[in-house]
Amino acid sequence: MGTGDYLALAAGAGNTIAISLLAIAIGTPLGLGLALIRWGRVRGLDGVVATLVSLLRATPAVTLVLLVYFALPTVGLEVPRFAAGVATLTLGSMAYNCEIWRAALLAFPRDQLDAACAFGMPRGLRFSLVVLPQIARAALPALVNEMTLLIKVSPAVAVIGVTEATRAAVRIGATTYNPIPPFLVALAIYVVVIGFFVATQRMLERRHRAGLFA
């Protein structure tokens, strides 16, 4: 493996990180939105969301990315590979995050809401000041866990030709006829990236706990 190969792997790692972060940044709030629809029992939408989430959670990322990339052009939407990859991972992340947010919402003590109501707090404030800070803290470990799962399925976007870390390694292996070294470098990249998420979560939890007892 030459310097160029290491650079290609670094570029691939950059793509893996960019795609994953974008999908996390879009999928997490979307998941919250879906969870709120289910929590608020919005008539008509509730069942649709439940079905969609169940279907998406059962769908392999590879199948979904192929669907997004090949089916969208048939309805006149030409999407670049990268965008199709982000859209796919976002859909999956949205579905998983919906369940995580929903669990946090269901565990939320109702009496706090009643108290806020009694003080005449409007709905929006009730949510942003009372509910959100607490469910965000409760959901954090599960959300970070889901982020690491998302990074682990992100190589799926390689099947439509997005050159992320895994595909970069495959290409180097194909040209050098020695596939193992680039795969081991890619493996190290994933361990570092996922390890970073896990360490961040541990730190945030420690800080929250310290704040709780301060």
Partner: protein, 219 residues
Amino acid sequence: MIPHGIEVLWEQRDAMLAGLATTLAIAAASAACAGLLGLLLFALLISRIRAVALGLTWLIDLMRCVPFMLFCYLIYYGLPSFGIVIGNLMAGIIALTIYNAAYIAELLRGAFAALPREGIEAGQAFGFHGWRLLVRIILPPVLLSSVPMLGNQMVQIIKDSAFLVIIAVQELTFAANEIQATYYVPFASFVCAMLLYWGLCLAVEGGVRAVVAMAEVRR
């Protein structure tokens, strides 16, 4: 457009069903092997041989940081370098087995850690030790309490099996992709595949619920 897609799929139903059958066979074989290997790893994890348990913990943690697709490539391209020549299907099953065995061992260890110690101590007091302690005293409650998580892992195996399309294993996603490439019906073929995966996962969830209900009755 969509009625046409459904028509094509109906004509190609044999190819789709063959893909589904392959996915089912791969998932069942890998799940059985991963379950057995996971049990063995679990036994070593809780054994008194500290060095083995520590090394295994380290390996399992490492495995949980690796994307399945990368691991699949490593097995597929790596085993021949050690002189082990196998077909694509076999490589896929081996990759699924080893990868998921690590997760199963870890979830069994979690269930074991949550178990009250008294039962095990009582078993030891009655002279159970080693293999018999594991099989007669430890495993029954551990397995029973981890049924829902084992079900989740089964769903994971079914979903991971779609990754085998990259090493040209002719499973469900492969079949859907072949049909869409030949007849240009991407929407119908992939949605059909998604619905079939959904059916498999719902069946697993139903099975888990039935087992949990049965366990409740017997308790």
